[in-house]
Symmetry: C2
Subunit: 550 residues, 2 copies
């Protein structure tokens, strides 16, 4: 068996190593265009910022290790230029020597990844406009970031843009981020990501939303001017473009291998392309979304690694299959964390999938133990059977933990009722006797059982909603510090004595700070014959919302 | 509907609050013997040590809040002395006034918890022998710990003993821990808990295993002498006895309500006792183990809280049921963490349940990102179908996260094959592209698929195993720094060239530092016709084991 693998990093190297473990006699050729296989893409931003000091640390599995330990025929600086399906061979160009040759295969694995999207903006080819995908990019950015420059503009506020922003600030550089969308970190829902946006500002990073770069111009001296769509322009020493990636699937396209509309190579659950002798894994593929079952391109390292393993398995007759990508992701931004799994609310809307949602704002661990910090957890679920569709969490500590737990629940097709009964680690420095996961389960289950009909701040804001009586059940002090316009304040503790003051012919929206007292008020009111509902996430969610519409 | 609840903390207060939310008109009486309902039992050790400075913080839901917000008739210092099932009433003694009265009920919930076990050791009633269950105990321990004393002896190295040890050290007190078992933290398996034992020593805590207190004697001056079984005796200023708890079920026993052999009140999955009008929740109950389905008494706050909620649900005709306790637990000891879920190896053995196990020793996050620290994860699973039976994890960071994920997997009856495919949060400061969870899944699945037959260090140690050829595949440097006696060193990288030197008629045990290179070696050897197996956890597990038998 001769296996040729194009691309030798996350997906490719994983496939190669697994293939060797499955078969000592196979011939395994790894063709990698770059200088190094198996490097830590995900560490690049932190190398730029100096958190990772040694470049060598980024070389996860150096060539020698892959050769000696796994007997892989790894060839770096070797670019595949063509796939010849009929002859079952690839054309290879040795980038060092310029030599061209062909290499035959029994099975081919395409693991070419995705490349940064570079729109045809005037001036984008300037040497002062950088991107960050590989070690060469990182070397370039490292050099400029440590050269005493003062200002950088980052175009695109996705994962990589955010990580680069943090790391340039670590180098003492003034950073402005320009993002076309109306929020940073577009995979998350907008209201969830607000605290991170605010936090960025507090770190001195300027964020321009709904804005895009339309030109880069090297200015006199050593500078660069970035023209924006709004007419504004920004001066900087350099710019970084990080507005998403595109599957590097040209080889497949040229070989008439089926690709999706986004350019990803279409694969089945054994990672086979439309040509059963050719597999594709990682960022170059279009896979199925685990939740919606629709086609997706989600460029993440975990899926790439596992897909590589599955392709190797299938080549050697194993039955493991890929279940689809859930989209579990995490990003750290100046000490805060955003994580998510499954579908976002906007994707659910785009797919026209019915859903309900709730928010809880608990602390990461018991409030009575020092260091407890707030987090916000949003849960999206099927309004009929309660199956969990997605979750997002933002905070400082314990964020990845909660999303990992829900990621597991989604894998198991669990419902919000299962979250009620989850039995998780509890000691006061780690969580709560009722963990935020349980709490989200309680609230969501209560909504589905009709115990607490739920309203969302967007309902409250909408014009049609002016007929609703807004009841603030927080304390007088909390109320006078700020409240939703037109709300009436009756603190929960005395609500039962003031029922007569409430309208019996008008729907009531009760709210508190985070939703918990609002819920108790809702229970009291409904049992007394009022048509009451609870505002999910309470005033905390309202404040996010109204920041939003500023 | 009139509900009477005996005990007003975790289980009792949760039942009461939930009952009120379900029914505004119910009469709900909470009878609590102590001075406060709803206090943070789990925070008491940290109050003693000063991490929690304000005693007020421990009062999670003060009486006024329960009265005003939930209209609960909470009566503190009110001890129930008898349950009269025929008359459906309880006898109450007001501990302030000495008054006795009866209170009728439609439904009764027993939530009396568990009390520290106090064996009849001479001198145990000395005022210098403390225990820690409630605020009064905590006040006493706080007073003595801040009075300038120098030495304390803790009898019992369970959760509470460990937490008290840490907190007394924080107060500058010299601590010796005496434990009857051959390990600290007996719920964990012995080899897993070794690093914590070592860590305790490094913090200056002396641990005496296989030892017990047989007498306490107040000495001249202000001291206390603790006589030990071995004949040794220890001088201290005070002692703390924390050798486990016993269900406070005497009320139930006296009322002929069925209890199990360990004293726990037997309940069904709606938390009803043998008298359907009487419920029991929390530490006072005997419930079913989620994994083994055998009766267990596991005193934890999460289960108590959820059981209280379920009892209230059932009283009001709701269908929620308790699924059994999994035993998910976590404890922090001087910055290290031990967590577990499901059954331990020793419990599996005790239940005669077939199992297989593997160990992995990855870092909590990507090794190339600063701050990565090792953790050990042990996975126990069904040897036939791979269903997960239990897991234990010990380390510094990310320990509770991994156990929470596996706790969820156990709830969903998932297998080790599901762990292979888990899609978890990954960025270098949070985890790995192949998370320790995936890694444990890979290894366990490889064992079940026969890819890597597994040996354990105990197999290697056993006399019968002298016939096995021990192959160390680490580097020469690692080997010369220490190895398993009688092992032969052939580094993995050159193994393929030295196959001729290996015995073809003898089983081979391959090992490396943690198991990964040993696995690759095993693959190479098996495919070359050798009868090879991999030593799970490698030399790291061996070192634990041999520490163990010192
Ligand atoms: C800066 C940065 C930070 C990231 N952070 C995270 C993170 O925190 N978490 C996360 O989950 N993911 C992260 N990612 C994404 C993650 O790195 C990718 O999802 C993953 O590497 C994809 O693996 P792959 O094998 O598909 O592609 P890659 O790892 O990109 O490997 C593809 C390789 O193929 C080579 N190649 C392409 N075409 C050819 C050809 N014709 N011939 C020969 N070789 C070719 C390329 O040179 C490249 O080295 C990050 C990515 C970047 C760039
Ligand atoms: C120091 C300490 C640390 C702990 N740490 C943790 C931890 O980190 N994580 C964890 O999960 N668990 C921990 N626990 C255990 C946890 O607190 C218990 O599992 C939980 O409180 C049990 O709830 P319960 O309602 O059954 O009993 P309790 O919370 O103990 O409440 C029972 C109440 O009933 C009252 N009572 C008893 N008899 C009568 C009577 N006859 N009449 C009236 N009232 C009566 C008692 O006064 C008591 O207040 C800890 C416990 C202690 C003591
Ligand atoms: C380094 C690289 C080549 C490794 O590939 P790999 O050998 O398949 O993966 P790992 O080193 O993680 O090892 C996993 C294997 O070791 C086994 N293993 C791990 N720990 C083990 C242990 N303690 N005992 C026994 N086996 C163990 C696993 O079972 C698995 O083998 P399997 O797939 O045959 O079941 C590849 O992951 C890579 O190139 N990574 C860097 C690039 C990258 O991922 N970038 C994105 C993230 S920054
Ligand atoms: C304080 C105590 C009385 C609280 O009981 P409780 O009101 O049932 O519990 P919580 O305060 O955690 O609130 C949970 C309720 O609020 C609801 N809730 C929480 N956050 C909400 C939000 N943001 N929006 C809407 N509802 C919310 C939940 O759905 C749940 O209601 P439900 O059970 O009817 O579904 C009880 O837990 C207690 O005594 N605790 C201290 C003792 C203890 O547990 N000790 C051991 C650990 S230290």
């Amino acid at each position: 068996m001769k296996i040729v693998i194009v691309g030798g990093v996350a997906g490719g190297a994983s496939a190669a190593a697994r293939a060797r473990r499955l078969d000592e006699t196979a011939e395994i050729v790894v063709l990698e265009r770059g200088h190094h296989p198996s490097f830590a893409n995900c560490g690049l931003p932190y190398y730029v910022g100096g958190k990772i000091e040694s470049r060598k640390k980024l070389l996860v599995a150096p060539v020698e290790m892959l050769r000696n330990r796994h007997r892989l025929d790894v060839r770096v600086r070797s670019q595949v230029t063509k796939i010849d399906r009929d002859r079952k061979q690839v054309h290879v160009s040795n980038l060092e020597t310029g030599d061209q040759y062909t290499e035959s295969f029994d099975k081919l694995i395409i693991a070419t990844g995705a490349s940064p999207f570079r729109p045809p903006i005037p001036g984008i080819d300037s040497s002062k406009v950088l991107e960050l995908r590989d070690l060469t990019d990182a070397d370039r950015m490292h050099a400029i970031a440590t050269s005493g420059v003062k200002r950088a503009v980052i175009v695109g506020a996705g994962f990589i843009g955010m990580e680069v922003a943090e790391n340039l600030v670590l180098r003492g550089i003034d950073v402005t981020v320009v993002e076309l969308a109306d929020q940073i970190l577009p995979p998350w829902d907008r209201e969830m990501i607000q605290p991170i946006e605010k936090h960025l500002g507090e770190q001195g990073v300027k964020v321009l939303l709904g804005e895009s770069a339309i030109g880069f111009q090297e200015s006199a001296g050593d500078g660069l001017t970035i023209q924006l769509k709004s007419g504004q322009s920004l001066d900087a020493d350099f710019a970084v473009v990080s507005i998403g990636v595109r599957p590097e699937s040209q080889l497949a396209v040229d070989a008439d291998i089926e690709c999706g509309p986004g350019g990803g190579i279409i694969v089945n659950d054994s990672m086979q392309t439309s040509d059963p002798n050719i597999y594709a894994v990682g960022d170059v593929t279009q896979v199925s979304c685990f939740v919606s079952k629709t086609p997706v391109q989600i460029p993440l390292a975990g899926p790439a690694n596992r897909q590589g393993r599955i392709a190797a398995d299938h080549i050697f007759g194993r039955s493991s299959t890929y279940r689809g990508t859930q989209g579990t992701a995490v990003v750290g931004v100046f000490g805060m964390t955003a994580a998510m799994t499954g579908l976002s609310e906007k994707l659910l809307q785009r797919h026209d999938m019915p859903y309900e949602k709730i928010y809880v704002h608990p602390s990461d661990h018991a409030g009575y133990y020092p260091g407890a910090q707030g987090l916000t957890l949003k849960l999206l679920f099927d309004p009929i059977d309660g199956v969990i569709l997605g979750a997002q969490c933002v905070g400082t500590n314990g964020v990845d933990k909660r999303i990992d737990v829900i990621a597991m629940a989604i894998q198991a097709s669990m419902t919000v009722y299962d979250l009620e009964e989850a039995e998780l680690c509890y000691a006061p420095q780690y969580g709560h006797a009722k963990d935020p996961i349980n709490m989200a389960g309680f609230v969501a289950s209560g909504v589905l059982r009709g115990d607490q009909p739920v309203l969302h701040v967007d309902d409250i804001q909408s014009k049609e909603d002016s007929e609703r009586f807004l009841l603030d059940v927080r304390s007088e002090g909390e109320f006078s510090d700020g409240h939703i316009p037109d709300a009436t304040n009756i603190p929960l503790e005395s609500l039962r004595e003031h029922l007569a003051e409430l309208p019996s012919d008008q729907p009531i929206a009760a709210y508190c700070k985070v939703g918990q007292r609002g819920y108790v008020a809702t229970r009291i009111l409904r049992q007394n014959g009022f048509d009451a509902a609870n505002v999910s996430g309470g005033y905390t969610s309202w404040m996010r919302r109204s920041l939003d519409s500023e």
